[in-house]
């Protein structure tokens, strides 16, 4: 089945057709509630790409999705389906909050590396238990990671309500992080180059960390021995064992890296944006990461592009909620349709296309 289609069709054509289908169905939904789909699309485009403010939000969301998308992608190379990005990012947020609140940080250059380590450690730790259960006990990773999402949410809920909430506050959230942990936003970063980027937008230096993570994941998967072992395990476990690769080690390594990447998302949303830890700070990015990884074919560059697309959808959706009467439930429906088509219904587009290409080839032969 592998070589049925040319590479370009696999990488470009299928995601494109899926997207078009999703948008067509979304248009039907918008028409059904009596709104104008063309105007809605226009609003999404200007709202997500039309100004530096809009780009600031699109890139902010994209940064989240790059981290969670990479997390899913790395695990996927070892044929592990980590759908616990949500929980791992939640715990990553806890790591960031603990680091930021522990010391009166004098400057962000000191706080950032510490927060990165805290986020990665907590995210990896949250992935470690399902990984160990999979490696040693054969408990299915899909089941355990998704359950750990609920446990993670409950743990954070408990900590925010009972332990980390400042005295006298009614909102279940931590205190504000000290000023020394304030990360430079794109506004601050671009100002020296004479580029006036919106001051209010939350995109920050974490975006650069996300880009660096893409490059590092590429090097890890295709240029290191561990990456080779991960891919070998993913293609065939018996063959990997025959080649002297220990599955337990690979499962643990892949899942720890995956969890750490998901946890790193918290540097962006907790430290870079909210500057305090609130409930539901992940906002479903862990699950979007699955769609991003599937659409990006588990390649870091693909993940990067897919993350930008989903950043656009998220920010565009927020604009729709602000400026139209389309109810919030239907905006979630539209976002879900895109995820459904690009993620879950991949084969619906793939199979007819493969048949088509097969037919073309036979015709030529």
């Amino acid at each position: 089945m592998r070589d049925v289609m040319p590479k370009w069709a696999d990488v470009v054509l299928i995601p494109l057709i899926s997207l078009v289908l999703a948008f067509l169905l979304s248009a039907v939904v918008i028409i059904a509630i009596g709104e104008d789909p063309v105007a809605a699309v226009k609003m999404m485009v200007t709202g997500a790409l039309g100004s530096t403010y809009a780009w600031g939000y699109t890139l902010y969301y994209a940064t989240n999705f790059i981290f969670t998308g990479l997390a899913v992608a790395v695990a996927f190379h070892a044929k592990l389906f980590n759908i616990g990005g949500e929980g791992q990012a939640t715990l990553g947020g806890l790591g960031v909050a603990l680091v930021c609140l522990a010391l009166p940080w004098p400057h962000w250059t000191l706080a950032l590396p510490a927060a990165v380590i805290g986020a990665a450690l907590f995210g990896a730790a949250w992935a470690a238990i399902p990984a160990w259960l999979q490696a040693k006990r054969g408990s299915h990773i899909v089941i355990t990671t998704i359950m750990f999402n609920f446990i993670g949410a409950a743990v954070l809920n408990y900590l925010l309500v009972n332990v980390m909430r400042p005295v006298g506050s009614m909102d279940p959230a931590t205190a504000k992080f000290p000023n020394g942990t304030h990360l430079p936003t794109l506004h601050d970063l671009l100002a020296p180059f004479g580029i006036a980027f919106s001051r209010a937008a939350p995109a920050n230096i974490s975006f650069l960390i996300a880009v660096a993570a893409c490059i590092l994941v590429y090097l890890l998967i295709w240029r290191t021995r561990l990456g080779y072992e991960i891919r070998a395990q993913g293609h065939s476990e018996p063959a990997a064992i025959y080649a002297g690769i220990r599955p337990v080690r690979i499962v643990m390594a892949a899942m720890l890296i995956s969890g750490a990447l998901a946890g790193l998302m918290a540097v962006n949303n907790v430290m870079g944006e909210a500057e305090r830890l609130v409930l539901n700070s992940v906002e479903g990015a862990g699950f979007i990461g699955i769609a991003v990884a599937l659409m990006g074919r588990s390649h870091p560059f693909g993940v990067f592009l897919a993350a930008i697309l989903f950043g656009f959808l998220y920010q565009g959706g927020a604009e729709l909620a602000l400026w139209t009467d389309i109810p919030r439930e239907l905006i979630v429906v539209i976002q879900a349709l895109v995820i459904l088509f690009t993620g879950a219904l991949d084969n619906m587009v793939r199979m007819p296309l493969e048949r088509l290409f097969l037919g073309l080839r036979k015709g030529r032969a």
Binding site: D171, A200, R276, E283
Partner: protein, 329 residues
């Protein structure tokens, strides 16, 4: 109004903001949702009333998650909307930051005090209104057991519970008040199923009047109470109409008036801290055609008497939030 007109309107709002002039007011609802039949819907009612009277339009948003609060406020402020009204204590910490960044925009927060020069903080004396409905609950109860179901377990809701319990005990010192909270997170504002379960649990313990101070969760409480044939007490909005003849009364909190007044004042909104109690008609109990048969003359006389005494200062209802304790259980 078609979407295109709205787009143009939004564009116009942006253009106007660039010129520094004032524009439409904006309303931000909390996680319970605009149609929670209670707190947020009261705010919506006030905004709609202003719209109907002036014929002008306003912008609004329902939040999808906690993390959206700041984006919603900033986006509206960037667009030059003024004033921006938000319903809910949870906006407090976010508003502290956002208000400082937009000194020319007026903000109004309900249920929370934010000390900033361009913020109007509205807080209500919910304990006083709850005291009155507590008295009515005790008088209507035959089992001498009444219930309270709160939304999120926060001092604000305990303030409702404490005022209610004081009112009950004032009428009948031997009465039992069963108290439950739906949860500890904002999700507790919109969980009618759990509200119904708690109602059933309280009924099994003998409660025959239940007061719900739980936003959208209260819809489940009132529904279950009506199904099981006991009385309930609504909150924030007048909810008597939801189950005519089965809702004893509603502790109305005039969120609608607060929103209406803010919209009416526009960019000239007076800032500062405003406390609305019985004397200001900020809180009270609702009597209308749906519950007229339930509220006896004796009941109404007693409650009116207590109301006058509270306003005159002869009865002091303890405010839970003043010291985080309640003198009665």
């Amino acid at each position: 109004m078609t979407l295109m007109q709205k787009l143009l309107g939004a564009g116009a709002a942006l253009a106007v903001s660039a010129g520094g002039a004032l524009a439409e007011p904006a309303m931000v609802y909390d996680l319970g949702g605009k149609f929670d039949k209670s707190f947020n819907e009261a705010a919506f009612g006030g905004a709609e009333k202003w719209k109907a009277e002036t014929g002008e339009s306003y912008r609004e948003i329902e939040l999808q998650s906690e993390a959206q609060r700041e984006q919603a406020l900033r986006r509206f402020a960037e667009a030059g909307l003024n004033p921006i009204v938000m319903a809910g204590f949870a906006f407090g910490s976010v508003l502290e930051e956002v208000a400082a960044d937009y000194p020319d925009t007026k903000f109004q927060i309900i249920d929370m005090v934010v000390d900033a020069p361009n913020v109007r903080s509205i807080v209500f004396s919910e304990h006083e209104g709850s005291y009155l409905v507590g008295m009515m609950a005790a008088m209507a109860s035959e089992s001498n057991t009444v219930g309270f179901i709160g939304g999120m377990d926060i001092p604000l809701i305990r303030k409702f519970a404490c005022g209610y319990a004081q009112g009950v005990k004032a009428v009948n010192p031997d009465a039992t008040v069963i108290q439950n909270m739906t949860g500890t997170t904002p999700a507790a504002w919109n969980d009618p199923v759990k509200g119904g379960e708690l109602t059933r649990a309280q009924i099994s313990q003998g409660a025959d009047v239940i007061y719900a101070a739980a936003g959208g969760t209260g819809v489940g409480v009132l529904q279950t109470a009506a199904d099981e044939g006991i009385l309930s007490i609504g909150v924030d909005s007048n909810q008597n109409y939801l189950h005519p003849g089965q809702v004893l009364t509603s502790m109305v909190k005039r969120v609608d008036v607060a929103v209406y007044n803010a919209f009416k004042a526009g960019a000239d909104l007076e800032t500062g801290i405003f406390v609305l109690g019985l004397a200001e008609d900020g809180v009270g109990y609702a009597v209308d055609e749906h519950n007229a048969d339930l509220v006896t003359e004796e009941m109404q006389a007693a409650v009116e008497d207590a109301k006058a005494k509270i306003i005159a200062g002869e009865i002091a209802v303890h405010d839970y939030m003043s010291d985080n304790t309640c003198p009665v259980k």
